[in-house]
């Protein structure tokens, strides 16, 4: 074999294949080694890319992974009356929440929970809807106001139901709730628009003010939410707390209301179907009482809303949710004569000495306007106010014209809303020629001036406006109502009205006469306190014209009863206005109410006693620096 091969190849040397293979292996092994090193270089490049070039991006993602922020709802500020009586505060509320992201299955969790806490179909629907709509990391409220027993049971169950949370939050409790209802208002779940503006609102149990002071001062009362940053593992279980920013409580509010006087006022008007009364401190403008009947209990509305009672409230024909004192617009009737008298004196069309005679009616062109009685002759300003003679004021109004009357009416605070922290005020109407052209596209008629002179026709105003008007007449200053006590405004007196003090004095003496002199329309409502006089003016305003009278019930046909007053007459401190809807004559229905409320005010003298300063207002400098004052 070997021989044959050797022959075949001849003298050629046989190639050493083994050695060749060995060299080839060496070459290729080095090649493979190089390739391996090169591929490790690729891995190094990849690590460089991930860990150095894109590191910050991945670090962010990693933090996002492990951190969870939870907002902490702030405690809402309390509301006090002027003497520090608690009106509204946050109280402990045991709640059941669910975080859908951490639940194994949301329906299953709900089923398990319903064994402890009853869950209605509606609640279940709401929870499922909310779970679909918002991030699974926002807790959804299932039930609140749990009993301690339920709370304890839920906490026992907690390890088996991931995503379930039982916590202790706050709910709003209102004291003296029925008298204060309209003023303080109530809180409710945030509306959809609000939620879109601020994610804090999505926190379950977070309530915002819906009406009243709760609404106006919502920002201040609300405080600012805190947050807790947790480290969580991949299943969302909290590993530890990384840090927290405490929530800061809302500011406390002190109202100028005296809750006792408020309660007395409400009790006094309760006998009427719909009525309201306002008492002002004429010096500061502080609202001491503002009662409106029918009323409601905000505790029924703010927390655990009972659908039945809510329906009843909102469908009641007397609208208990409405604050008549600021929303009710009534023709001021004869109370407006105070304005007409002042305007006439200011315009110079009448003076203190001129007398007119009242035949019981007044003609403009072919139209005849009636006076409520024939007063006979010798009616001057004093007598006209005291006896409420329509004829005198028809003539006065006609002489000066509507524009001047409207100007003085506005000067006395009518026809506008006040920035005193009460939402939903009506402005009322103080008509003039421009107003009629703009709103009714018609020219002004003299007859309309004449009836405006006695506060009928287009004229309308709210009880609060009438109280302000009476305070302005009493003091001669441009008093504005205030509802919130703040330590900053140790107010300088209100600016003087640009009215002649002598004219004001004439009108005031007329108003004193109304209550205290024989022949005065509210003679029967004189104060029973010795040496203390009240000045006032009755009003009885017609609500219907003769065209639609037949369509109305007897109640609706009845006139509104109005009364404005201030006391003491010689050194005014309290002003009041009362409107009894369809109450009949002002002297019979409204004047006794005002007399009783003013009597109570005079005896209690809330304006003369030191007021309460809330804790959160105590260091005024620091608070003022930290929070922008509204």
């Amino acid at each position: 074999m070997r021989k044959k091969k050797a022959l075949h190849y001849g003298a050629q040397k046989k190639p050493d294949y083994t050695r060749k293979q060995s060299y080839r292996f060496s070459r290729r092994a080095l090649l493979v080694g190089g390739a391996q090193a090169g591929l490790f270089g690729l891995l190094g490049w990849r690590l460089h890319q991930l860990q150095i070039l894109d590191s910050s991006e991945y670090r962010l993602l990693s933090d996002e992974n492990r951190m969870m922020m939870q907002l902490v709802a702030p405690a809402r500020g309390s509301i006090y009356d002027r003497f520090g009586t608690l009106i509204a505060e946050d109280k402990e509320n045991l709640r059941l929440l669910v975080l859908p992201a951490f639940c194994k299955s949301l329906p299953g969790t709900l089923d398990a929970l319903s064994k402890i806490v009853p869950i209605s179909g509606a609640t279940r629907d709401r929870v499922m809807r909310a779970a679909r709509r918002q991030s699974g990391y926002y807790p959804i409220l299932i039930a609140e106001g749990l009993t301690w027993r339920q709370f304890a049971l839920l906490n026992v169950l907690a390890p088996q139901l991931p995503g379930m949370r039982a916590d202790r939050a706050a709910y709003r409790k209102y004291y003296h709730s029925r008298p204060m209802a309209h003023l303080v208002g109530y809180v409710g779940m945030a509306g959809k628009e609000e939620v879109d503006l601020d994610p804090v609102m999505r926190l379950p149990g977070f309530r915002t003010g819906r009406t009243g002071v709760e609404k106006t001062f919502d920002r201040e009362l609300r405080g600012s939410p805190g947050s807790v940053k947790y480290e969580v593992d991949s299943r969302g279980r909290v590993v530890r707390e990384l840090g927290s920013k405490p929530s800061s409580c809302g500011r406390d509010l002190v109202l100028s209301i005296d809750h006792h006087l408020q309660t007395v006022a409400l009790d006094r008007i309760k006998e009427h179907r719909v009525a309201s009364v306002v008492v002002l401190d004429v010096v500061t403008g502080g609202i001491l009482a503002m009662a409106s009947t029918p009323t409601f209990d905000p505790n029924d509305v703010a927390f655990d809303v009972n659908l039945e009672s809510w329906r009843e409230l909102s469908r009641n024909p007397d609208h208990p949710l409405n604050n008549r004192a600021i929303r009710g617009q009534y023709p001021p009737g004869s109370t407006f004569k105070v304005v007409t008298a002042l305007a006439g004196l200011h315009a110079g069309v009448i003076d203190g000495h001129e007398t007119m005679s009242c035949p019981g009616g007044y003609s403009v062109g072919r139209k005849r306007f009636r006076c409520w009685k024939a007063h006979g002759g010798g009616i001057d300003v004093h007598e006209a106010i005291k006896q409420s003679c329509d004829t005198y004021f028809y003539e006065t109004a006609k002489r000066m014209g509507i524009d001047h009357l409207a100007m003085v009416a506005r000067h006395l605070g009518l026809g506008r809303t006040y920035d005193c922290g009460l939402p939903g005020q009506s402005a009322g109407i103080i008509p003039d020629q421009a107003w009629k052209r703009a709103n009714l596209m018609e020219a002004w008629y003299t007859g309309e001036t004449v009836i405006a002179g006695i506060g009928q026709g287009f004229v309308s105003s709210t009880p609060l406006q009438l109280a302000v008007m009476s305070a302005r007449v009493a003091t001669g200053r441009a008093v504005l109502p205030k509802l919130i006590m703040s330590p900053e405004d140790k107010a300088e007196p209100w600016p003087l009205l640009s009215l002649d003090p002598a004219h004001l004095e004439m009108v005031r003496s007329g108003m004193v006469g109304v209550v205290n002199e024989p022949g005065g329309t509210a003679r029967r409502s004189a104060l029973e306190i010795p040496n203390m006089l009240m000045a006032g003016k009755t009003g009885t305003s017609q609500v219907v014209s003769f065209q639609n009278e037949h369509k109305l019930t007897a109640y609706e046909r009845e006139t509104h009863a109005l009364f404005i007053a201030y006391a003491p007459a010689d050194a005014p401190r309290y002003a009041a206005a009362c409107v009894v809807e369809h109450g009949g004559g002002g002297s019979a229905a409204a004047a006794p109410v005002v007399r009783d409320v003013i009597t109570e005010a005079l005896l209690r003298d809330p304006a003369g006693r030191p007021t309460f300063v809330a804790n959160s207002d105590a260091p005024p400098a620091a608070v003022a620096a930290a929070e922008p004052v509204r």
Partner: protein, 384 residues
């Protein structure tokens, strides 16, 4: 003289000589890598020896004994036993689909509980042995012939098919890399490798055309897991976040938030490199890779020093296995290649893979000790 030496029996080595011939620096390097693994496992357990770190070290100690046993054994025994071992491993792999234990959607295990083992792990070593044996047998001048290529290709393809059937893509890829690499090192012509590459490039688009849409979707998601960020993409994304957030210096030992807060899957096995890179940063990761690269260089050096092709291929084949493991694992956790489930050798927790790697390294040392041994024709020709 030279010929005479080659044909003469190798000098008989006694144990003391073998101990001297042992590559001690290499053993220290391996120990260092294992200790890195133990430290990582200590961190994975949240700063506890239990349940992984301690067992890892204990297993390595047993492994070390095995390493020495394999290293000091007679290389001729392994030369003779290469085919029978290969056949045994093939048989066991064949048995897996019938009596295997299913876990995680794939049948890979034989036996039960603590006594279970993966035949495919055994196959990794025996494949190297069998191929080395084949090329020791094949006269070097016949290596270019196509019919000489047939048996080794068959030897490689059978285990690949069996692995794919399990299904275990990672192992199949490992077999392909080891087999292909050994054929290349043995001296198979470039031409064949070129032909295979061209063939795949040409056939791939046609195969793609034939696939159903859902199959394509599955393949695409496999290649690019981020198409499915909540499914398979989740793990790889979390892994990349962990590695990336480690930055240059790392978050500190036992401070890796991704790992410690369980955002990482299987962090004690396949994703241990991720955790290491998160806690030790770029520096640590590069140092670990450098350790592996150093080990590979050692192995290449040892393979080059051997005289017989059997020893050369044996050492180089184990080197390829180690490389393939490390590369696939790191490339996988950094998102360079799809997730296939390959552990990081010597660092990941797991008995079987540790055992395979230690035995393999034992063969490397064995080849190194017997670097000057050559075989007689008669020794090679006998099947047993």
């Amino acid at each position: 003289m030279k010929l005479l030496f080659a044909e003469s029996p190798a000098p008989k080595l006694n144990l003391s000589k073998k101990l001297l011939l042992l590559n001690w620096p290499f053993i220290f390097l391996i120990t260092a890598i294992v200790l890195v693994g133990a430290a990582s496992l200590y961190s994975v357990a949240g700063g506890a020896l239990d349940p992984w770190a301690s067992r890892h070290v204990v297993r390595f100690c047993f492994g070390l004994a095995l390493l020495f046993a394999v290293a000091f054994s007679d290389i001729r025994f392994w030369l003779r036993g290469a085919y029978p071992f290969y056949l045994a491993a093939l048989m066991l792999m064949l048995l897996v689909p019938f009596i295997g234990v299913e876990s995680g959607g794939a049948r890979r295990w034989l036996g039960y509980g603590e006594l279970s083992f993966q035949p495919s792990e055994m196959m990794k070593i025996t494949l190297v042995l069998a191929l080395a044996r084949y090329y020791q047998w094949l006269p070097p001048e016949k290596i270019w012939r196509p019919d000489a290529l047939l048996p080794p290709v068959l030897m490689i393809t059978l285990p690949i098919l069996l692995a794919l059937a399990q299904p275990d893509l990672g192992t199949a890829a490992l077999f392909a890399i080891i087999g292909g690499g050994l054929l290349f090192l043995a001296g198979v012509s470039w031409f064949y490798f070129g032909a295979v590459i061209v063939g795949v490039v040409v056939a791939l688009p046609h195969a793609w055309e034939k696939l159903h849409d859902y199959q394509r979707e599955r393949v695409l998601t496999f290649i690019d897991p981020e198409r499915d960020p909540l499914g398979s993409g989740y793990h790889i994304l979390q892994s990349k976040i962990a590695i990336g957030s480690g930055g240059f210096a790392g978050k500190g030992y036992m401070q890796g938030t991704q790992a410690q807060l369980n955002f990482l899957p299987e962090k004690h096995t396949d994703f241990i490199f991720t955790m290491f890179a998160e806690e030790m940063g770029f520096i640590g990761a590069v140092v670990l890779l450098a350790l592996y690269l150093l080990a590979l260089l050692f192995i290449t050096y040892m393979a080059l020093r051997c005289r017989s092709i059997f020893a050369k291929l044996l050492a180089a084949g184990v080197g390829l296995t180690l490389f393939a493991y490390v590369f696939i694992n790191v490339a996988m956790v950094t998102g360079l290649v799809p997730v296939v489930g390959v552990p990081l050798p010597l660092v990941s927790y797991g008995g079987t893979s540790m055992l395979t790697m230690i035995i393999g390294l034992g063969f490397v040392l064995n080849a190194h000790i017997n670097r000057d041994v050559t075989f007689r024709r008669s020794e090679v020709r006998a099947l047993w």
